[in-house]
């Protein structure tokens, strides 16, 4: 087999700017890698290094450096991912507040930072300080009244439109691959697909810069999915510095799995949850070595983010809560109801979003991406401003909904009627009747819930970086908080009912609406993405307590069951199917009784298989065959009569080898015989010099017999990562099954459109 690792890089900077010479062993864009070949190349490299390390001290040191390079890459990924996440958090904080006003003493401070040092904040008006002025105060020196409101409203919309327009223009001009969430494409890349440029440096830069812009513009999207993409771009960047990873696509994907874990870790401040998310959702092959390295990368990233300290209190996430009030068995019933809501909402969202994205793909709507972004931003800004719960950023909304109401909260949601003689300490406030502020908050939250449900369907999938963790959690948190307040008031006013009598006496603090918000958020997120373990671990790492595992698990399990009853796919798998990526899901089960003959090509009535013979074709014949067909590879047989299989040759390598031979070797002309055996065949005298192509031949292609059940074939494809598999009967070659054929067959069996699989 070819050892492509022999190409040494020249140290000249100018050569760096040259176009890379496509040597034998690299893959074309939008093709699948050969996992087995990458694995064997890595084993060869490792064996060579180990054998050389015994020769001298320098070689020994080089072997040590090679072994340690994996950890160095993880360290660098963690540092860069943490830094970028910190920069994004700080910039989003500032730019979100820029829509409403500006800090006069130092323009780079957000609202909260501006009022940090001021002494003029009062208990009732904790947000006001003279250094921070709204735009209406600055421009027309009025802070109350109708004209001030209208001016603020107008400027809010203008800023939002400006940010969104900048973001979509930057994406369009510099890095079109920076749009969307990134997780469906990363899942496909990690399963072996090649999308050149998807994890490039320009995509990294543009995704980071535009992510800040779109989150600040108030659109209903989050930054967690794009942070996974950003972290994988960092992983790709650092792995290109080491030849162990840059030359081997299989090893590179191990690094990318770990980088994805680091991305989720900094998004949620949950290192363990990040590793589990990478294991469950994103990665395809996850060996144990990768588990340990992912954990290391996630920890380094979380530690870097904490040292940047974007939220000013050594917390990694804006909505970290820390209360420890107990929950009661009877509350499992509303938690399960929230789980059902989450499952139903997940199904609704997936169906509507896929329908809208399909419309964007196929009709004229897709021809106006910039206009679409501007219109959606305008609608979002116009509807979001009047409602105080949608005016602020979604992370702040979730943070407020998760928080428990102590005596010190001054928000409307905590406007309970206090007993003036109450002498209890701060965190043991008993249940109180709701004041008017709470009722106002409830209907505002209901309106906000409906708005968010509708607008997120149209926002996810636009040509800007967009994630959907935060909007799903917001929907769930709003629903959960409303249910929690309902249960709390029910318990207060009817504490003599049977269900409340045992655990909720008057004067006791029994119901925590903030916990219901958390459970609702977990349920909705689980309903949309169908995450299981990783979701629960992320949520309890967010809350810092193990007390709430049982409610979170109950809600997550219920929402997954309810959602699975309507459709098996989560949002990411649905987008993979929409785009037709060749992704063979490990979660799908193939339970049909078809055989390999039913799927293999050529079918009855089709043209026979295009094969190469061992030593009876000329260069011209091979070139004609390559030009006339567009297959990715050709089986090599002994001769056209006895179709006994010798091996398999890739199209790309044939083209390159013939091109090289014509340029470099003397005597190779169009009439030269091409042979794949060790010794050249018997040739008549005066015939041109034959061309030996044995080195590009794969002598061990995978074969199955024609009666192999498709269940086994699908299993082989999945477990070994094959691209094609040859079908033989009593030693004679019958046909070929490619990954595309397998996917089309599975789609056909599931009554989906088999023509939707587009890539090879």
């Amino acid at each position: 087999m070819i050892n492509a690792g022999d190409m040494n890089g020249s140290g000249n900077l100018m050569d760096f700017l040259d176009e890379p010479f496509p040597d034998v062993g690299t893959y074309e864009d939008f093709h699948t890698i050969d996992w087995l070949r990458e694995k064997s190349r890595d084993t060869d490299r490792h064996r060579k290094i180990t054998s050389k390390s015994k020769e001298s001290i320098w070689e020994f040191i080089k072997s040590l450096l090679d072994a340690w390079s994996g950890w160095v890459v993880m360290l660098l990924i963690g540092l860069l991912a943490g830094t970028l996440a910190g920069v994004i958090d700080l910039a989003v904080d500032w730019m979100t507040d820029l829509k409403e006003g500006v800090c006069l003493s130092a323009f780079w401070y957000s609202h909260e930072q501006c009022c940090w040092t001021s002494n003029e904040t009062t208990f009732d008006d904790r947000d006001k300080c003279p250094q921070w002025q709204k735009w209406s105060e600055l421009l027309v020196s009025q802070s109350e009244g109708a004209s001030a409101y209208i001016l603020n409203y107008f400027l809010y919309i203008m800023w939002a439109l400006c940010f969104a327009f900048l973001a979509v223009s930057l994406v369009r001009v510099f890095a079109p691959y920076a749009c969307g969430s990134g997780i469906p494409e990363i899942k496909t890349i990690l399963s072996g697909f090649i999308i050149r440029g998807y994890l490039g440096k320009w995509t990294l830069l543009i995704k980071t810069v535009t992510l800040v812009l779109v989150v600040s513009s108030g659109l209903s999207l989050g930054k967690e999915g794009p942070l996974v993409h950003v972290a994988c771009c960092c992983g790709n960047f650092f792995s290109s510095l080491f030849s162990k990873y840059s030359k081997n696509e299989g090893k590179r994907r191990e690094v990318l799995s770990a980088a994805a874990a680091a991305g989720v870790s900094v998004a949620f401040g949950a290192p363990i949850g990040g590793v589990l998310f990478s294991l469950e959702e994103v990665s395809y092959y996850f060996p144990l070595k990768t588990l340990w390295r992912s954990f290391f990368a996630a920890l380094v990233a979380a530690f870097t983010l904490r040292s940047i300290n974007p939220f000013g209190n050594s917390r990694l996430v804006l909505f970290y809560v820390e209360y420890h009030t107990p929950w009661y068995m009877a509350e499992l019933f509303p938690f399960i109801l929230l789980g059902v809501f989450g499952g139903l909402w997940g199904t609704l969202f997936i169906r509507c979003n896929i329908a809208w994205c399909r419309r964007r793909k196929t009709t004229r709507l897709g021809k106006y991406p910039v206009l679409e972004v501007i219109v959606i931003t305008a609608i979002t800004a116009i509807i979001a401003y009047p409602n105080p719960y949608t005016r602020r950023s979604t992370s702040e909304l979730i943070s407020e909904l998760f928080n428990d109401c102590g005596a010190l909260e001054s928000s409307q949601l905590c406007d309970y009627i206090n007993d003036p003689n109450m002498t209890r300490p701060v965190d043991d406030i008993p249940d109180r009747p709701a004041g008017p502020g709470v009722y106002t908050a409830m209907w505002q939250l209901a309106l906000a819930l409906v708005f968010k449900i509708v607008i997120t369907i149209f926002t996810f999938g636009m040509k800007i970086p967009s994630g959907l963790f935060i909007p799903s959690m917001a929907v769930g948190a709003m629903a959960g908080r409303m249910v929690g307040i309902g249960v709390e008031q029910l318990a207060y006013h009817h504490h003599d009912w049977i269900i409340f009598r045992n655990w909720c006496r008057p004067g006791a603090d029994c119901v925590t609406p903030g916990l219901y918000a958390m459970v609702g958020a977990a349920a909705c997120l689980g309903g949309v993405t169908r995450m299981t373990v990783s979701l629960v671990v992320i949520m309890f790492e967010l809350t810092g307590g193990l007390e709430y595992i049982v409610p979170l698990m109950a809600a997550a399990v219920t929402s997954k069951w309810v959602a699975d009853a309507f459709g098996k796919e989560g949002i990411y798998e649905a987008h993979i199917h929409l785009n037709g990526y060749p992704f063979l899901d490990v979660k799908d089960e193939f339970t049909h009784r078809t055989l390999a003959t039913d799927v293999m090509r050529p079918r009855r009535g089709e043209a026979p298989l295009s094969v190469l013979t061992q030593d009876s074709m000329t260069v011209e014949d091979v070139e004609t065959l390559i030009k006339e067909t567009d297959y990715n590879g050709f089986p090599v047989v002994v001769s056209k009569d006895s179709e006994r299989l010798i091996g398999f040759a890739q199209r790309r390598e044939l083209i390159l080898a013939i091109k090289n031979a014509r340029q470099r070797q003397d005597g190779v002309v169009s009439n030269s015989i091409v042979y794949f055996t060790e010794e050249p065949p018997e040739l008549p005298p005066n015939s041109p010099h034959p061309l030996k192509l044995r080195r590009i031949l794969n002598l061990s292609p995978f074969t199955v017999t024609d009666h192999t059940p498709m269940e086994t074939v699908v299993d082989i494809f999945r477990k070994l990562g094959l691209r094609q598999c040859l079908v033989t009967r009593s030693g004679r070659l019958l046909g070929i099954i490619t990954k595309k054929d397998v996917l089309r067959h599975m789609a056909q069996m599931a009554n989906q459109d088999p023509e939707s699989i587009m890539f090879n």
Binding site: A106, F174, Y177, V209, F237, T423, M758
Partner: protein
């Protein structure tokens, strides 16, 4: 250009990293540390917020709330309701981050304006009417990098530094144009 852009991005991220790491190790600005105590209304005293620059172990009601609004025997009841939190931030980090971000954004915007508006005008003036005869593929192609094909073909001959950089830039533009076609026009990837 991809290499230069990548180097630029790497340089900026390293700058940010160095700035943040270095500044994090400096002595903290005295304004960046505070203990914040929020005290709710008590009897006839209204709620109040107290800030003071004390160390973390001194961050409690007795050290921070000055002057104490309630007389001696009530101090304990008053302080029991107050909630004190120790907070610190790094104002230098915030300043450096925002300024670096805005400068990167500004540079990108300038480059975008240059690529979409200025460069086609310059090229049209420099090369006159011969450029107007475009191939069939470019007719109606108002994308920013429509000239990439032609420049690429011409500049293959010479080999000095400036041309290599321009050649790399044109190759990058071709790649971005391909990406744009897949994503925006044919909707093949990233629906």
């Amino acid at each position: 250009m991809a290499a230069r852009g990548g180097a630029w991005a790497g340089l900026c991220s390293l700058l940010a990293l160095a700035a943040l790491a270095g500044l994090g190790a400096e002595a903290k600005n005295s304004e960046d540390v505070r203990c914040k105590c929020i005290c709710p209304p008590y009897k006839d005293h209204s709620g109040h917020i107290y800030n003071k620059n004390v160390s973390q172990k001194d961050c409690d009601c007795l050290h921070v709330v000055e002057p104490m609004p309630v007389p001696g025997p009530d101090v304990e009841a008053y302080c029991l309701r107050c909630e004190c939190k120790y907070e610190e931030r790094s104002s230098v980090t915030i300043k450096v981050t925002i300024i670096i971000y805005l400068s990167i954004l500004g540079l990108l915007l300038l480059y975008m304006v240059y690529l979409t508006l200025v460069e086609p005008i310059l090229k049209r003036r420099l090369f006159g009417h011969s450029q107007l005869i475009q191939s069939d593929e470019d007719i109606g192609d108002h994308q920013p990098f429509a000239n990439a094909h032609d420049v690429l073909a011409r500049s293959r001959s010479r080999a000095n530094v400036l041309n290599k950089v321009e050649y790399a830039q044109q190759r990058w533009k071709l790649q971005v144009q391909e990406q744009r076609k897949s994503v925006f026009d044919r909707h093949v990837v990233l629906s």
